[in-house]
């Protein structure tokens, strides 16, 4: 009788979660571009924990995390939106919400997921819990045409900001009342905004322009003063090199009073001041920069490059604004992600089918992990950062 009771008791306690307690603060995901898989990884143990297979077209996939850091929302190119449970290595929910999609964001309160689409051009808002659709914002311009939407980010005040590539507009969407989304449109912000970012404090939204020189800046503390053009004259009179891959602005690199941004069609990283938005220096680099990302402490800026210079990584010393080092990690360096406090960085090598981890202080290789055509790498620490 006593024995039986013990068995009962143990049955009661051994549920799968209790048996193998696992937290999610040091987890992350790696996108396997070609097979459309997502690897769940642990950044402390440097290892793969699980794999979710066949989530459709994950070229250019991006990821945001729920604020409890349990779920990863994966935005696929084919309009797929998948909610992955990092604790159980399984798909919690999946929908196909559009034909052709480019990115997404999570709201300040963690309750809304926004997705930006190429076709049909616009933004859709979903419940983070159920993925049920809450709002549909078609990007209509010029009497009925639909624009591709890029550069979607969350902003304080339960807002989302995004840009219309074909229309040259920035829209500010207030979702405080989900049943009545409020839109504010800024027109003629410049030709072909290709990506955008929001500063880590959530104040400035900046869209890079492909169709003309300069960037468009919106101060969310005073949206009534409108969108301003910054660096309007930069590179205006030089012939631009052809651009083989659009730069990304997502990893807004801020170190001290400086911001570091990729120059479009040039082998340069631009350094600008964050108070007056003036150019301080154009740092010559090894190719056309794609991602320009600051280590979390801002001391180093890591840069990768577009085809055909994409086998390299360069590290800029934020103190004297020079190249501190050039690494050759392997073939087709696509993305990098720092651990939350920056002692290590994970780098994806698409054509080597590997992810390589570096110690950012010594630049020594810590480990290489196998992955099939890896592209984006996203750690759960993003859950608590504005704009990521």
């Amino acid at each position: 009788m006593k024995y039986r009771f013990l068995i009962l008791l143990s049955l009661f306690f051994i549920d799968p979660v209790a048996a193998d307690v696992c937290a999610t603060g040091d987890l992350g995901v790696v996108i396997e571009r070609e097979p459309g898989n997502v690897l769940i990884i642990n950044t402390t143990q440097h290892k793969q924990l699980g794999k979710i297979e066949k989530l459709g077209d994950l070229s250019h996939a991006s990821v945001v995390f729920s604020r409890d850091q349990r779920y990863a929302y994966v935005f696929g190119r084919d309009g797929g939106l998948t909610k992955i449970d990092l604790l159980t290595d399984s798909v919690a929910k999946r929908i196909l919400q559009a034909g052709n999609s480019i990115g997404g964001a999570i709201s300040q309160d963690g309750k809304l997921i926004a997705v930006s689409n190429y076709t049909p051009g616009g933004v859709k808002i979903f419940s983070a819990e159920s993925l049920e659709q809450i709002a549909d914002i078609p990007a209509v311009y010029d009497d009925g045409k639909l624009s591709k939407v890029i550069g979607l980010v969350d902003a304080p005040g339960q807002r989302f900001v995004f840009s219309l590539f074909d229309a040259g507009e920035i829209w500010l969407l207030d979702m405080r009342t989900p049943a009545a989304p409020a839109l504010q449109k800024f027109k003629n912000i410049g030709k072909q905004p290709y990506d955008a970012l929001i500063t880590p404090d959530g104040r400035f939204y900046i869209a890079g322009l492909f169709g003309e020189s300069g960037l468009a800046l919106l101060d969310l503390w005073s949206p009534e003063s409108g969108v301003k053009k910054i660096l309007p004259a930069y590179g205006q009179h030089d012939e631009k090199l052809p651009v083989y891959k659009m730069p990304h602005l997502e990893g807004w690199a801020i170190a001290g009073d400086y911001a570091f941004i990729p120059a479009v069609g040039r082998h340069e990283v631009l350094v600008i001041t964050t108070d007056t938005w003036k150019l301080v220096k154009a740092i010559p680099v090894a190719g056309q920069p794609v991602f320009v990302m600051a280590r979390p402490d801002g001391r180093q800026i890591w840069v990768n490059f577009a085809f055909p210079d994409n086998q390299q990584l360069q590290i800029i010393d934020a103190k004297d604004l020079t190249i501190e080092n050039t690494l050759k990690p392997g073939k087709a360096v696509l993305h990098m992600e720092f651990t939350p406090r920056g002692e290590e960085v994970w780098v994806s090598l698409r054509d080597d089918n590997q992810v390589v981890i570096y110690d950012t202080a010594t630049l020594a290789e810590v480990k290489r992990l196998p992955a099939q055509t890896p592209s984006g790498i996203f750690f759960s620490a993003r859950a608590h950062k504005i704009g990521l």
Partner: protein
């Protein structure tokens, strides 16, 4: 015999021979990933338009080959002539229009 002559004539009309197998592989990889960055991994479109057979059906091979080599100024389509020669671009158009099953 007749058939043989006809096919010989056809292939001479297509000018250059297809790229070597290793180069074909490299070009397919380029198409999937580097062209795919703008046209989508499955070529159904992204920042650039879709490049599936139905998307290209009514455009001539010469026109599309020239687009790949020279790009389209004023748009995001870059010229690829630094990396791809004319016969390779023509071969790419060929496989875009007639993908292997």
């Amino acid at each position: 015999m007749k058939i043989f002559i006809l096919s010989a004539m056809l292939s001479s009309a297509v000018a250059a021979p297809p790229p070597e197998p290793a180069r074909q592989q490299a070009l397919r990889n380029l198409l999937k990933h580097d062209c795919g960055a703008c046209h989508g991994l499955t070529l159904k479109g992204g920042l650039g338009p879709g490049l599936r057979p139905a998307d290209l059906a009514d455009k001539s091979n010469e026109f599309l080959t020239a687009t790949i080599l020279r790009g389209r100024p004023g748009t995001a389509m870059p010229p690829w002539n630094r990396f791809i020669d004319k016969s390779e671009a023509a071969w790419l158009v060929e496989i875009l229009k007639n993908p292997q099953p």
